[in-house]
């Protein structure tokens, strides 16, 4: 069965066919959301008009933050509606397929790795934790230096203080990550986000993700709060986002078939 004329097939993620996933009614661009079942797996999909979301439109808007933000937000919203109760493997954007058979073939070819990925995330969701340096402490105002030598010695002791503060922050961050990782089935520390993309000037010191059991949400968030309080006196702020589909933990199921052929 081909996708209707003039449409592309967009895949949001994969669920187990046996799970009674509650799908939202509408996805990207208000399109209906459905399931494409292949053996024990089911892709969450929408048929999208090619004129609004086809390949050419993607290419034209791929560097357009506004367009991409809307599409990514709607893609994520569909998965978000599913993860409260059902395990889901999120697919990387853009997930466009020419027709249903193409996606069916991929699902069949990757049934092994996808099933293994489900086993790895079973009953878990992802939480993001970031730490920002919101204020650089320990810079007391000093009277004017009385001599060049005085100036130099002050400068070097200020540098030493700064270094001590940095070492202390590094240790605190390490401890915070360790404690959160203890509550998680898996964890990953990513590169700090580019301030250009985040639009935030404060340096990002930690950008981590944790795979946490649905039942352990309160414990994890409580611990994050406690650790955030511990960071505050050193000028750091901890921020939590989630629950996310396990984007950072489901990405091992690479296609075993031929590499992708761009159109």
């Amino acid at each position: 069965m081909d996708a209707p004329e003039g449409t592309v097939l967009h895949a949001y993620g994969v669920v187990r066919a046996g799970d009674a996933a509650t799908l939202p009614e509408r996805g990207i661009g208000g399109a209906p959301v459905g399931l494409l079942v292949v053996d024990g797996l089911a892709a969450v999909v929408s048929d999208l008009p090619g004129s609004s979301f086809g390949e050419a439109v993607w290419r034209a808007h791929a560097e357009d933050p506004e367009w991409l933000g809307v599409v990514a937000g709607e893609h994520n919203a569909v998965l978000e509606a599913v993860i409260d109760e059902t395990d889901v493997l999120p697919l990387r954007l853009p997930g466009l397929y020419r027709h249903r058979e193409a996606l069916e073939t991929e699902l069949r070819a990757n049934a092994g790795p996808l099933t293994a990925a489900f086993d790895a995330v079973r009953g878990h969701v992802e939480w993001g934790v970031k730490v920002f340096l919101v204020e650089e402490l320990d810079e007391p105002a000093a009277p004017k230096p009385s001599s060049g030598r005085d100036y130099l010695s002050r400068k070097s002791s200020a540098a030493a203080r700064k270094e001590t503060a940095r070492d202390r922050r590094a240790q605190l961050l390490f401890d915070v990550h360790e404690e959160l990782a203890l509550l998680a089935a898996a964890d990953v520390v990513n590169a700090p986000q580019d301030p250009a993309l985040s639009g935030r000037k404060e340096p990002m010191l930690l950008n981590a993700a944790y795979l946490v059991g649905r039942d352990e949400r309160d414990g994890f968030l409580g611990e994050a709060d406690r650790l955030g309080e511990r960071l505050a006196p050193d000028g750091m702020r901890l921020e939590v986002t989630g629950p996310w589909p396990p984007y950072n933990f489901a990405g091992r199921a690479e296609s075993s078939g031929a590499p992708g052929v761009p159109a």
Binding site: E63, G260, P262
Partner: protein
């Protein structure tokens, strides 16, 4: 308040979406319309569009514990 929680669905930052939806997730290639290499270019392009190179001077990469699903 030192801890901020932003629940997904409230006000998700574009950078968080991009990080996850383009940087993470399962890749099923095959007959996908845009290849993964194209997407990496998208990400790179987006960075260039949004701003000139910035540098995060102090960032801590934690390496004491092997990330379970690390790249």
């Amino acid at each position: 308040m030192s801890v901020e929680r932003r629940m997904v669905g409230e006000d998700v930052a574009l950078v968080d979406l991009i990080d996850r939806l383009i940087g993470g997730g399962v890749v099923l290639t095959g007959d996908v319309v845009l290849s993964v290499a194209d997407v990496d270019l998208v990400y790179l392009g987006l960075r260039l569009v949004l701003a000139p190179a910035h540098e995060v001077n102090e960032s801590v990469r934690l390496s004491g514990r092997p990330a379970a699903g690390g790249r």
